[in-house]
Amino acid sequence: MTAKRIFKNLTLLVILAIMVWALWPEREKEATAPQTGTEPGSQAESVREVKYEIRMVPGPYMPGTVPMNIGDPLEALQRVADEFERLYPDTKIEFVNVPSLREWLVTQLSSGKAPDILSVNVEDAWQDVHKGWYVPLDEFLEKPNPFVEDGDPGSEQWWDIFKYQAITRGKAAPDGKMYCIVLDMVETGIFYNKDIFRKLSLEVPTDWEEFVDLMKQLGEADYVPILLSLTRMYDWGLDLIFDQLYYSLLPGIDLKKDPIREEYMQGYLDWDELSFLFGKGFFTRDDMRFREIWRILKEWRDYANKNLQSEVLTKLFVTQKAAMYWDGSWMVQKFSKSPDIDFEWGVFYPPPIPSSYSEFADGHDMCVIGGAAAQYEITSSAIRDTGDIATSERLRRCVAFLQFLTKPRNAELVVNEVSYFLPNVKGTSPVEALLPFDEMLKRRYTTTKWVYTFDNRFLDVLRRMLMLYLDGSITIDEHLEWMEKNVASATSTVARRKELQLTDFEKRWKELEPYRKDMKGLPDGAR
């Protein structure tokens, strides 16, 4: 008996020892970047006095992470930060990774504990700018970027340094201010398996009818014609098709010309315009075009994978069971670098819908739905040294880092380390594999982004009901009924929260009447 007890206790001790070893906090050596400086006196570094500790969420460029498990850990951003710290010895930049859940964001921001520089879609921030959680960056953007050489873009105004001006300017919030720095661009594309296309003598489609025909043929040849997921449908799909069907109506329904953003977005419909239009009968059961959107989406979905919520879509494309895959430019990282891909692939943009496919479409090119990828906002945490934007030194450091980061050399270094996105800085070029997306980004910006217009509740209902409709569990009428109620409650909520005044719109609406006279397919109340 005693031997057994001794054995048991011994094992316990061993286990405890292993656990302590495993759990022991690692030394600071965990830092990823090798020291680039060749100075032997690097010990002097630890002696410097750090006055400002800045926490930044780098998003996809987090040093030390391995993007898509391919290649080496990232280090470019760390090198940029190290160089910045050499220029500003009183500052230390710490990169943190945070969940992108809105609930988390709200809690952190409201208690002032959020990181100083956040990386979120700026549309999410717009909902909260009136609470003072974000710092408007206009005053800095209108001044020169101190790290840029004289004469180069950005040396007069930081604004000029951005390559895709339209999209960048379009990121201004409804209150007219700019809350983010757009470092890079993303776009979506339909990746396709060139080998399969060759085998079946198929060509890249030039319009939607050819596209559907193509998918039909692929289905008959026993491939999954295209891989779609639910998120793509209610986010990208909805916006793309909406633009295809409603763009021609804009002269008659674009009520507000936002002086700051309109020039670049050319007719974007904001939440207030959408609310007003809803009152006139748009987006209800009577709206023929609205109905048509869902019909087109459903028909498209029928050629796709059975399970829209599947987690293994990439697997199907990699093992060549599926011929096409609609996803974003970040997949280039995987497709161009993973050794598992043993076929030739290409990418094309969704083709326009001709009027022969839908009476409300006119065949104009599909718009851009991507745009800004890494958007960096400075939160109110940054001004916690003085509490005031005008006097905060911490804020100035944060701004300086962002200015430093958007210097062409640095931006290229960081963004091109991964084949995800295209740098948004003049004087840089994207990774060669991403060049096709550069072309796509030259298109016109989308008419509206449903996903960002209303609140989470709207999104929740949209997601759930769209899935049921796409899978055939509810009919188009039931779906429209849900959508109608959903838009109704979303518009009333947002009207209450933001105190919507619609009288100006009424006036404008009457003014635009002559444009609407000849438009077909408008709901009754909209003439």
Binding site: L23, Q108, V312, G328, W330, K337, S338, I341, F421, E432
Partner: protein, 329 residues
């Protein structure tokens, strides 16, 4: 006759056992495979393991030149095709190292994230269990052995808390801790856990204390034991089984509690294992999420190990405690 019956019983039990344990076996197996392996096929043993065995065989039989591994070629890759690979002959040691890396990549990745979570959970667990046992046993002792006005009323008060469903208090508790500025800290977890855990502990302890014979106390009092002595030297040692049960239940409860940490501690620094496991393996890629399967599976395995250790050493006391009447409702 008896034998046939026993065999039948064993058969049925084994079916249950197998059905219960199979998913976990798959998890363990898959945690050692690489993402590309998992993408190809769900079933199968870890390739790296097989290769390690074959290469060892080659090395031992002198065929070391057969040790080849597919590695990626450095440099730019053509647009429109995948990463280039080639077969390279490697030293035995190098190949073993590479294969070992593949085998454990999931574990290394997830442990990087999981380690602080585990530390957090240990800390919270420890303090909670101490708090619950202290407060629980003391309060139960007082309820059990002392008469004072309002005693039954107060006791019922405390017990009635068990009737309050968590669902009702979730939102107000959250608002409360937000006001108290406790969000994203250890206390936001510890305090409510102790508050809730002690209720059941009081209940268990009290039933046990009630069952202790009065002579025990009389004898001790004759020996000159004061109140504290009674508690510390007489009652507590006897309650060891109950203490184990309470401790184990609270450790389990704290370890498993997902919703509250998830909602209150959203800073990764304060994540516990339960909420951490939920986010692990989903690496934020671009504007989308891609699941890193081996890391996820490894995370599940790793998060079970501490409890496994607890299990090995605590089952006997637990069963003893349960038999000592902890669950005689």
């Amino acid at each position: 006759m008896v034998r046939k019956r026993t065999i039948a019983i064993h058969a049925i039990l084994m079916v249950f056992v197998v059905w219960t344990l199979i998913p976990f076996l798959f998890v363990i197996n898959n945690s050692f495979r690489t993402t590309s392996e998992l993408e190809r096929s769900f079933f199968g043993l870890p390739k790296s393991l097989g290769r390690m065995a074959t290469f060892t065989l080659y090395e031992l039989t002198g065929k070391s030149d057969k040790i080849v591994i597919r590695t990626e070629v450095e440099g730019d890759n053509d647009w429109g095709s995948g990463g280039q690979t080639e077969m390279k002959t490697l030293e035995y040691g190098d190949s073993m190292r590479l294969l070992w890396q593949d085998l454990t990549s999931g574990y290394r990745l997830s442990w990087k994230d999981l380690r602080p979570y585990t530390l957090n959970t240990f800390f919270v667990c420890f303090i909670t269990v101490c708090g619950v046992i202290c407060l629980g046993s003391i309060s139960a002792y007082i309820f059990s052995r002392y008469k004072f006005p309002g005693r039954s009323f107060l006791f019922v008060c405390v017990l009635s808390v068990m009737m309050i469903p968590q669902v009702l208090t979730l939102v107000p508790s959250f608002l409360l801790v937000k006001k108290m500025n406790l969000l994203n800290s250890y206390w936001v977890l510890i305090l409510p856990y102790v508050a809730g855990g002690q209720i059941f502990a009081i209940f268990l302890f009290k039933s046990f204390f009630d069952g202790l014979p009065q002579d025990l106390f009389d004898a001790a009092k004759i020996d000159g034991a004061g109140h504290f002595r009674l508690y510390w030297n007489v009652v507590l040692p006897l309650s060891k089984p109950i203490i184990s049960v309470v401790a184990i239940l609270n450790v389990l409860g704290t370890w498993n509690n997902f919703l509250w940490p998830f909602v209150t501690n959203t800073d990764p620094k304060y994540h516990v294992v339960a909420s951490g496991v939920y986010v692990i393996g989903k690496v934020l890629e671009g504007t989308d999420t891609v699941t890193n399967l081996p890391a996820m599976y490894a995370a599940y395995v790793l998060s079970s190990i501490p409890l496994l250790i607890l299990f090995v050493y605590a089952t006997k006391p637990f069963i003893q405690g349960v038999s000592a009447g902890a669950f005689k409702a």
